[in-house]
Structures are given as C-alpha cells and as structure tokens.
C-alpha cells in the first residue's frame, strides 16, 4: 500500500517528477564528468611512468615529479646492474628544450632521450612514419595531438631543437605531458648532445626486474648501495608524480569543489522538488493521517518517493554520462571515469536524495490531521 501510494502520487504529478529527476540527473552527470576530467588530466602526470615498461625508477634523492628530474651519474647503472633481481638497466634523459616552428617562432618542449635496443623508457608507439624512427641519426618522434602546437610537422620535415637539426621521423598518439609542452622523443645520445647539462648524468635509471623478484626489496637494496638516489617501483613513482600536481597546483581542491557544487545543486533541486510535491499534497497527507496512517508510515512513503526519484535519476544520469564520455573524450581532453567513481557517485547521490527527503519531513511532521475536517 505504501508502495502503491508512493509511486502513484509521484507519477500523478509528472511536472514535479521531471523536475526532481532533472536535479538528480544533473548531479550525476556533473559529478561524473568533473571526476572523469580530473582523472583524465591527473593521469597524464604519470603517463611517462605508466608507459615506460620499467618496473623501478631510480632518480635523485627526493624525486617528486617525472617531468622535473635532477640528474644522477649515469655510471650508477653498473652498480644497479649488480643488484640481485635486476634484469636490465637503462638510462633516460628528460629535459626542456625549444623546437623551431616553420614561421620562425619557437615552442617549448620536453625532450625525452631513450637508449636504443630496448623498450625501457619507450613510452610511445609510432603510428605514422618510421617504426625505427630513433635509429636515424637526427630522428625524433612527436605526438599527433600536439600537431597544432608544433604547426603540423610532416614526416621527414626538418626542425631545430636548441639550435641543432632534427628530423621528424615518426608520430605517436596520446603521449601527452601534464605540462603544456609537447614531449619529443629522441635517442639518448642525441638528447645528451642537445642539452647543456652534464653529459655524464642521466635523469633516471630505469630497471626491469626479474620475474619472481620483489621490487620493493630491490629498491631498498639500491638505496642502501647508492645513498644519493631514490628508487621507487613504477606504480609508486606514478602516484608520487600525480600527488605533486594535486598538492602543488591545488588541483584536487578545485576539482573537488566543482564536484561538490554539482552535488549541492542536485541536493537543492531534489529537496525543493520533494518539498513542493509535499506542499501540494498537504491536505491529502492530512486526510491519510486522519483516517489512520501513522506519521512513520507517511515518512516511509516520502522516503520511498525519494528513493524512487534517486534510482531512476541515477540510472538515466549514468547512461547520459557514458554517452557523453564516449563522445567527448579525446586524447588531449581525456575523460576517465573509474568504476569506483560511478559507484561512489551513485551511492553518494542516493544518500543525498534520502537526505533531501528530510526537508519535506519537517513539514509532514507538522501536519495536523484535524485540518482534514477544516476545508
């Protein structure tokens, strides 16, 4: 009976029902997209680490962001190679440079130098041009998504980086820096030549471990042998890099605030819709109270209505979210919605809807069944 009353009266008033649903849908979509954009953006901060094929990253003590390394002697690689469980060690060089554009301007870029004959540090996949682009003496790989910034470089086109000639030999897709500057991949030797920093230094040493070894254990061992370095499993260094941007740039706070705002708008809309619905039906509720419906049963009906609006709204909202996500997400502006976000957002909004039923609750509590006789 409660169920019957709850959904019949809800459906009877289509206008208000739709208003309530819009509130919930709006919240769901806003929170999911905000969150998705946030995760999409923040995951770029660790992209180089995630795709590096390395199990352990070794850098200067206190390393905190993959794009801002402080050099360590490249010869440390021989020490690392001697540690038990290490299968392969290769250096990588990451540093800033300036690439020339056809119209005479320059664009800042991040130079990534990787060694040949290994996939350690090779985060890109050539989709256009030469598979072995870096084998060419002055070959570089840039990303398609940076085409506009680099003014549409063609395969084979000559550019200058830091005053030295380079040739675009391959293009990848989706290897984007969290910084605005494009990544430019080249061979390790060339990166050393282009840079003004100590040629004896590498930015990081990348380690592939043997299959059955414990990366944490190896890291501790490396750090005890080389007191000036930090060694972290790749997953952890990815999180450290993300954490850097979250805290230094206040990104967590600003995105969190926007998501909260979405929730708040939803809360207000659902609350005020339910309230308006109840106001419309005060006399019906008074009648029900008069003929013997208890206050608790009445509240139960309100709760059911909230839950119903929430469930339908969340379902529709999720569908819209998925549609928007698939149609709007690009490598440059990535919308990444982890399952946890969907679930968390759904649960949260459901709870908020039940909470929103509290507003009409206050009104229903004051209903005097006596008023049924007084119209």
């Amino acid at each position: 009976m409660r169920w019957n009353l709850a959904y019949r009266t809800l459906l009877h008033d289509r206008g208000k029902l739709i208003a309530g649903l819009v509130g919930v849908i709006f919240s769901v979509v806003l929170v999911n997209l905000q969150g998705g954009l946030f995760f999409g953006l923040i995951n770029k901060a660790s992209l180089l680490v995630d795709r590096s094929n390395a199990d352990i990253w070794i850098g200067h003590r206190g390393m905190h962001n993959v794009d801002f390394p402080h050099g360590i002697p490249e010869r440390f690689r021989f020490v690392v190679a001697g540690v038990e469980g290490v299968a392969e060690v290769e250096p990588i060089r990451i540093g800033f440079g300036e690439i020339s554009l056809p119209d005479g301007r320059f664009e800042d870029c991040v130079i990534v130098g990787v060694t040949e004959g290994t996939d350690l540090g090779r985060a890109y996949e050539v989709l256009e041009g030469q598979e072995d682009a870096l084998q060419y003496p002055d070959g570089i790989v840039v990303d398609r998504c940076d085409d506009a910034k680099l003014v549409h470089p063609e395969i084979g086109e000559i550019r200058e980086i830091n005053g030295r000639r380079v040739r675009v030999m391959g293009k990848s897709e989706g290897i984007l820096s969290f910084l605005v500057s494009p990544y430019v991949f080249m061979s390790y030797d060339q990166a050393v030549e282009l840079s003004t920093e100590d040629p004896q230094n590498a930015s990081y040493l990348l380690v592939r471990t043997e299959n059955d070894s414990d990366p944490g254990q190896i890291c501790r061992q490396i750090e005890s042998l080389l007191p000036d370095v930090s060694a972290m499993p790749a997953g952890r260094y990815g999180r450290v890099s993300i954490h850097f941007w979250m805290t230094r740039a206040g990104l967590g706070v600003s995105f969190g605030a926007a998501a909260m705002l979405g929730l708040l708008v939803g809360l207000v809309m659902v609350g005020q819709t339910l309230y308006a619905m109840v106001l419309d039906r005060i006399s019906e509720y008074a009648t029900l109270r008069a003929i013997g419906l208890s206050e608790r049963e009445l509240l139960c009906i309100l709760g059911l209505q909230s839950a119903l609006v929430a469930t339908i709204g969340i379902a529709i909202g999720m569908v819209i979210t998925v549609i928007l996500k698939t149609s709007l997400s690009t490598p440059r502006v990535t919308i990444e919605i982890p399952l946890m976000l969907y679930v968390g957002c759904g649960v949260l909004i459901f709870a908020i809807c039940l909470f929103a039923a509290g507003l009409p609750y206050l009104r229903v509590r004051r209903i005097d069944p006596h008023t049924a006789l007084q119209s």
Binding site: E284, A290, I291, G292, E297, H370, Q374
Partner: protein, 259 residues
Amino acid sequence: MTTTNPNPNTPGPVAIPVTGLGQREHANQLKSSSAPTQPALEAKAIAKSYVIGGQARPVLDGIDFHVDPGECVFLAGPSGSGKTTLLSILGLLLTSDSGQLFLKDRRVDGLNEVERTLVRRQRIGFVFQRFQLINGLTAEDNVAIPLTMDGMPMREARDRAGDLLCRMGLQDHCKALPTSMSPGQCQRVALARAVINEPELILADEPTAALDGKSGKAVMELLHQLTKEFASSTVVVTHDPRIYEYADRICEMENGRFK
C-alpha cells in the same frame, strides 16, 4: 471471514453481493437486549477553547453527548457553533481541554498521538465535506486504503473495494481517478472508504454540503443502508434540513452548547 448473517433485520449475502463483510457482535446486542446498553460513544463535560488574539475563547462549553450502538445522530446548528470542533474531538483528531471520552468501554481521551492514530484506523470511519480523496489513486485504490493499512494484500483489498463500489453503483468508475468523477460520485467513493473496514463509529462532517439535492440524498441513502448493515453508529454534522429524515436523533448546537 464468513458471509453468514445471523441477523434477519439486515439484508443477507444474497441481497448484498459484497463478500467478506462480516457482522459485528454489537449488531446482535442492539436487537437482542432492550436493557440499558452501553453507548458506542460517550463524551462527558467536553470543553475546548481557542486562543484568538491572545484571548481564550471557549468553543465547546462542557458538552455531554452519547451515541448508542447503531444509532445515527445529527449535529445541527448555525455556522461557528462548534459542530466541527466537537466532531474532531469525538474522532480523536483534536484533543479537548477537559472532559472524558469513551469508545464503548475504552477511555480514549489522554491517549498519545500514536495510540489515537491506531484507534482512528481501527474503529472510526470519516466522511468529509470535500471528499478528501487521494488524487493520484483510482477510486478502487482510494477505497482500499483502510484495508491495506491494516495489512491486507493489495490485490485482495482491491477486489473488496471493487465489490463495494459496484454496490454503490460505481461499477464503471472503479478505475477512474477522482478528478474525472462528479462530486456525487466522489462522495460515494469517500463513503465507501469510510465504511469498508466496518468501523464501529462513522463521523461525517457536512457530507452533502458540496452536493446537489439529488446526489446528497443518494449519498445519505447509502450511508443509512451501510451503517444499518454494519451496525455502525453514526454522527453526522449538517445544516441541510433535506436530509433530517435519516436521523434517529438530532442535537442542535448553539455557541458551544446543546440547545
């Protein structure tokens, strides 16, 4: 529940195609003993005043009132004389400032809100001037509310509500929403809702005031029939002289007292 009807004075199950409407024991009590019976409802020295503009104004002034089992009492009197207030107190919708109230032998003044709600649900049926149907529910579902509140499954309650509506000449309107029915039909639905639980007491506040003469009479005719059948006691507030013929007794009020 059986449909056997031990009382020859009320129509049997053949005449009433309503299943499951049993008889109450006080029906027999009424007919079998002419000794002083216990009233179905008794109010003693009921007083109530409202504070208006910072001043307490008495609306009911020590009212003594009773209704015998199966009796139909009319409360008449000018507007503002306190009829609705008295009816609200009798129906446990309002608490009196002083006085005692008994439903059969149970004292019901001084109950808390939860207990009063339960008494209303189980023992009292209400008919309102403006029908007070739930607009989102069909006629059938409106009538089924009191049954389902008592825990009857929806399907069974709907069947019984449908049967009762048929009896009231509304067989074509079982699935209709209140907004699509005439006032007379609405009041008949409301009446069905009030009696479906066979309450021992039915309270009606100006049940014909919003109806034209003909539908008013039809509603009163039905009310009369059904209350006789279920042996319910009835209190009707009205100032419609056209329906006085249905009263067993008429009490006239003036300024919070009986004349």
